[in-house]
């Protein structure tokens, strides 16, 4: 009976033990700095500071990060789209101008 209880205890404790083994690895991933990079999915973030500038101790997983990604993409593509629209308008006005000048026999 004691043996059975011990076995049950070990079996029930196994998932917790597995999670406990996984936790340090996860924690390492969370606080990984560029200096210990070399890991395949790293793209080299900010280096260690010596001039009092803030470091990035944890990966940003906040709504603010999503918001920044959205703004970056929106601004970049809006700028390019706006530029194309501006080019189109300038084309239109120049073509009208050249037709007007050709109409005067120049």
């Amino acid at each position: 009976m004691r043996l059975l209880l011990l076995c049950l205890l070990l079996v029930s404790a196994a998932p917790a033990a597995t999670r406990a083994q996984d936790l340090p690895a996860a924690a390492e991933t969370e606080v990984a700095t560029p200096l210990d990079a070399g890991a395949p999915t790293s793209v080299n973030a900010a280096p260690v500071q010596s001039n009092g500038l803030p470091t990035a101790p944890t990966p940003p997983r906040t709504m603010r990060a999503y918001w920044h990604v959205f703004v970056a993409f929106a601004v970049a593509w809006a700028l390019l789209f706006g530029y194309v629209v501006a080019l189109g308008r300038r084309f239109g006005s120049l073509e009208r101008e050249i037709r007007r000048l050709e109409g005067t026999g120049v």
Binding site: T29, A32, T33, P34, A37, G38, A39, P40, T41, S42, V43, N44, A45, A46, P47, S50, N51, L53, P54, T55, A56, P59, P60, R61, R64, A65, Y66, H68, V69, V71, A72, F73, V75, A76, L79, L80, Y83, V84, L87, R90, F91, L94, E95, E97, I98, L101, E102, T104, V106
Partner: protein, 247 residues
């Protein structure tokens, strides 16, 4: 005159073809960025800004490189078309550098906690932007347009010296800015999917750049045709007026 019109039609045709290709390429890039590439483990979602920021920087450098090359040859053979290409490329370079200067701080605020730091790469990029703003101011600041073109060509060449400095600044100086992750002697350090997506973004931005360059060049040629026609019209009307005054 017919040659000019034909050449403009051909430029416009190529611009339309390239625009269609770049539209498809942009859609594919969006799919790669938002559905294919995994989220980077250290920086999280904000790393996806790289796929706009880094290719924009590449295209800006390409644009200013074209400005320098065309300006150099323009000073030598004085072909007006080279000046038109340089002007068009400088305008696009300015647009893409603006994108770099906006998207960079958006990434930096999350990754570093600050919008801007005065380190070598960031400061030199801002300097590049100001140099090419000066390029346009210089063109318009002279009474004689030909002199303006020459001065701007010289500034276009001198300004391009900043490009290699920006590239090596992260290697030569202590820098907050990330080191190169793809163009390295030891090979890319990033995940293959990240590298693939980044390279595809480079290709897309390059196609977009050439499509816009053709459109802008076509516009510049049309502008110069209008200027020439306006000048002819003004000359003719002044000569008619002077004949009337003599009678």
């Amino acid at each position: 005159m017919n040659d000019v019109v034909e050449s403009q039609e051909s430029t416009r045709r190529w611009a339309v073809i390239l625009s269609a290709i770049s539209g498809l390429s942009v859609l594919a890039t969006f799919w790669l960025i938002f559905f294919y590439v995994p989220t980077e483990r250290e920086m999280g979602i904000v790393q996806r800004i790289y796929y706009v920021h880094v290719p924009s920087a590449w295209v800006a450098f390409l644009a200013f490189g074209i400005v320098a090359l065309c300006s150099l040859v323009y000073l030598w053979i004085r072909d007006d078309r080279l000046d038109a290409i340089a002007l068009s490329s400088a305008e696009l370079g300015l647009v893409f550098t603006t994108i770099v200067l906006i998207t960079g701080p958006l990434w930096g605020k999350i990754a570093w906690g600050v919008w801007w730091v005065w380190d070598a790469r960031l400061s030199l990029t801002l300097l590049l932007w100001f140099i090419y703003v000066g390029y346009f101011m210089l063109r318009g600041a002279t009474e004689n347009p030909e002199r303006g073109k020459r001065f701007a060509a010289i500034l276009g060449i001198v300004g391009a010296v900043d490009i290699p400095l920006i590239h090596v600044s992260v290697l030569w100086f202590r820098s907050q800015h990330p080191q190169p992750v793809v163009l390295r002697a030891e090979g890319p350090t990033a995940d293959p999917e990240i590298v693939k997506t980044l390279l595809f973004s480079f290709l897309t931005f390059t196609i977009v750049f050439f499509a816009l360059l053709l459109l802008r060049y076509g516009l510049e040629r049309l502008q110069r045709r209008v200027d020439a026609a306006t000048f002819r019209a003004a000359t003719r009307s002044s000569s008619i007026n002077s004949q009337g005054a003599v009678r």
